[in-house]
């Protein structure tokens, strides 16, 4: 990739050179090496262009042009926070843990860094490599064997800054045998500033453990969020991910989940609610590596104004993964003649005793349904709202935790009100 615009890959690499001696862990040889390898990998790949198959529908040129820099906010800057949604909340500002704003004493990556050799992964994907180059902090959480940690909230806030800032938190969660956790992650930022939030999640679910991970992406209108989740689920474990993309200008939610032990389960659901000028991409990669695992995916995209939605979802069933049950559905509802939806569901199957299917639909609101509601006296605007809400229902119904469900409902309602 020689033809990368200055301020793009070159800019990130240049800033990495300037920053690397000042980043946390600059005295840890293993971490210095990890960051250097990541930089080399990122240099080799560059910022992905549409010629890279995994980025066929999402163009990162706007990112290349933005000239992001490290955030400037002081470590104790005052921040206006939204009301907490769960009793226990941990707050990150500009990618850094803020114990003073958090209501429970979570560990953070920055604090434990010297102990984390071998625990920080170095994934090959270009945005994850970028994260490895720059991360400073993130949530570091281990739920002990058999423990039910209840519902936690993680709030990530990007502070307003005069120059475009890029923050790259790295969150590492491990649930030991039989442990349980529900986590609500909310990302917000200034409405009028350009910034990049590039989180990477490393999730490990041990035997019989269960992790429900609900992500509300509500970045500011000029914000970029490119997030990558790596989850590995051991025998009998469950990983549930629900991601709502309703904010941001250019957003990508990339999930790599590996079902590595027999009987593991993964649910990946989500909704993308898009308005004028927004581009949102959900890309999932589900790796069935063990027998008797099940996966379910339901993604819904609603498009208004001049917006573009992308869904790419691949289910890989390895030869050993006999008796796999894999299902994926992605549906898009167009509410504007300027909107565009691209989807690429994919199956790659090497085991024969499997049940795998995917489906995709794109269309506008059903005229018969709309008429039926109106014929019952429901005004058109209300009828449309009901049908859009109903369209999202199949993705939402998997989220049973009441706190998480309420948060999701609220976010959807807020989006709809803002866009009608």
């Amino acid at each position: 990739m020689s033809a990368i615009a200055p301020g793009g890959a070159e800019g990130f690499l240049h800033r990495h050179e300037g920053l690397k001696d000042h980043l946390p862990g600059a005295n840890l040889p293993w971490l210095v090496a990890l960051r250097a390898d990541a930089a080399a990998s990122f240099r080799a790949q560059g910022l992905p262009t549409r010629r890279v198959e995994a980025w066929h529908y999402t163009d990162l040129r706007p990112l290349a042009q933005a000239g992001f820099d490290a955030p400037l906010s002081a470590v104790d800057a005052a921040v206006a926070l939204p009301a907490a949604r769960a009793e226990q909340r941990v707050v990150f500002v500009d990618g850094r843990h803020r114990a003073d704003l958090s209501s429970f004493a979570a560990a953070s990556i920055g604090h434990w860094l010297p102990e984390l050799q071998g625990r920080i992964a170095a994934p090959a994907e270009p945005m994850a490599a970028l994260n490895s180059m720059f991360f400073e902090d993130g949530l570091f959480l281990t739920i002990a064997e058999g423990q039910d940690a209840g519902t936690l909230e993680l709030l990530h806030v990007v502070q307003a800054a005069d120059r475009p800032a890029a923050v790259h938190p790295r969150h590492i969660i491990r649930l030991e045998k039989g442990a349980r956790l529900a986590l609500l992650e909310t990302s917000i930022g200034p409405t009028d500033k350009r910034y990049l939030h590039n989180p990477v999640w490393q999730v490990e679910v041990a035997e019989g453990a269960s992790f429900t991970h609900v992500r509300l992406q509500q970045e500011g209108a000029q914000g970029f969020q490119l997030s990558t989740v790596y989850a590995s689920v051991a025998a009998g474990g469950t990983y549930d991910n629900f991601t709502l993309n309703s904010g941001g200008r250019l957003v990508r939610n990339e999930i790599h989940a590996t079902l590595s032990g027999p009987g593991a389960t993964c649910h990946m659901n989500g909704a993308q609610l898009l308005g004028d000028g927004q581009h949102a991409d959900t890309t999932t990669f589900l790796d069935h590596a063990a027998p008797d695992c099940a996966s379910r995916q339901t993604y819904k995209t609603v498009l208004k104004g001049k917006s573009r939605g992308v869904f790419q979802g691949k289910i890989l069933v390895r030869q050993a993964a006999q008796r796999t049950d894999g299902y994926q559905m992605n549906q898009a509802l167009l509410l504007s003649s300027d909107a565009e939806m691209d989807s690429k569901p994919q199956l790659e199957i090497y085991a024969d005793d499997v049940k795998c299917s995917h489906g995709a639909t794109v269309g506008e609101l059903d005229a018969d349904q709309l008429f039926y509601l109106r014929a019952r006296g429901i005004p058109e605007a209300e009828a449309r709202t009901m049908l859009v809400r109903a369209f999202l229902e199949a993705a939402l119904e998997g989220v049973e935790n009441p706190i998480l469900h309420t948060a999701l409902e609220g976010a959807i309602e807020a989006w709809w009100v803002r866009h009608t």
Partner: protein, 247 residues
């Protein structure tokens, strides 16, 4: 009083209604019978205001209000209820939520207060019991996974709740077994009174033994070709529609 004069309408550029004249005085139940393709369903959709059913001439008023000028929901608020021949499935829309939203929309239109969830449930349960409908139908998506009979009963339930002044029943009898037919008819008959009128569209005479009409009209080729008392239905059953036109 429903008054239709010289009503013509087309669908996809093809003229289906070729001049309908019809009056249904308040308090009366009229039946419209006719062979397939005669325009029966088109008439019901035109009265309810479905897109794609283009009125090319004539008028239709209900209690003096020009129905054709109103949006579908305004017609519903004005008291017009269409029981669909093919009720639409609404996956993701809970039946209870749907019924309450519709009921409150219509009540708002009539200047009545809205019902809260408890008041609504009480009312809905009572009506469902009368219609012999299991309560879990409230929790399911509207018409989703309903059998043909259940869908039709759901239409009758909605009619009972919305308490319209004019009900248009589009082949409500199709797909019903005899018990369901009787329940549906009871639902309609319960609403009969001095302020209720109905237009019962049917292909067969069978329904009219349960919902006895005041008048029977024969619709063929987009026109009302004959009108008479309830005995006309029996005559049609015996001699067929061909004879009706010749007469």
């Amino acid at each position: 009083m429903l008054r239709i004069q010289g009503l013509t309408a087309e669908v996809d550029g093809k003229q289906i209604l070729k001049g309908i004249d019809l009056e249904v005085p308040t308090g009366e139940v009229h039946a419209i019978m006719g062979p397939n393709g005669s325009g029966k369903s088109t008439l019901s959709y035109v009265l309810a205001g479905r897109d794609g059913y283009v009125v090319t001439g004539g008028t239709a008023t209900f209690n003096g209000v020009d129905l054709l000028a109103l949006e579908p929901e305004a017609r519903a608020a004005a008291g017009v209820f269409l029981a669909f021949q093919y009720p639409v499935e609404l996956p993701g829309v809970g039946n209870a939520n749907f019924l309450r939203t519709a009921l409150n929309a219509v009540r708002r239109g009539r200047g009545e207060s809205e019902l809260d969830a408890m008041q609504f449930l009480k009312l809905a349960r009572a009506r469902m019991k009368e219609l012999n409908m299991p309560e879990d139908m409230l929790k399911r998506g509207v018409n989703v996974g309903f059998s043909g009979g259940e869908k039709k009963r759901n239409e009758v339930l909605q009619m009972a709740l919305l308490a319209p002044q004019l009900a248009i029943l589009d082949e409500t009898d199709s797909g019903l077994d005899i018990d369901a037919l009787k329940i549906a008819s009871d639902g309609v008959n319960a609403l009969r009174g001095p302020n209720f009128s109905a237009l019962v569209i049917t292909h067969y005479q069978r329904l009219l033994t349960y919902i006895v009409p005041d008048r029977v009209h024969v619709l063929m080729g987009g026109r009302i070709v004959r009108s008479g008392g309830k005995e006309l239905a029996l005559e049609l059953e015996a001699s067929g529609y061909g004879a009706a036109q010749a007469a």
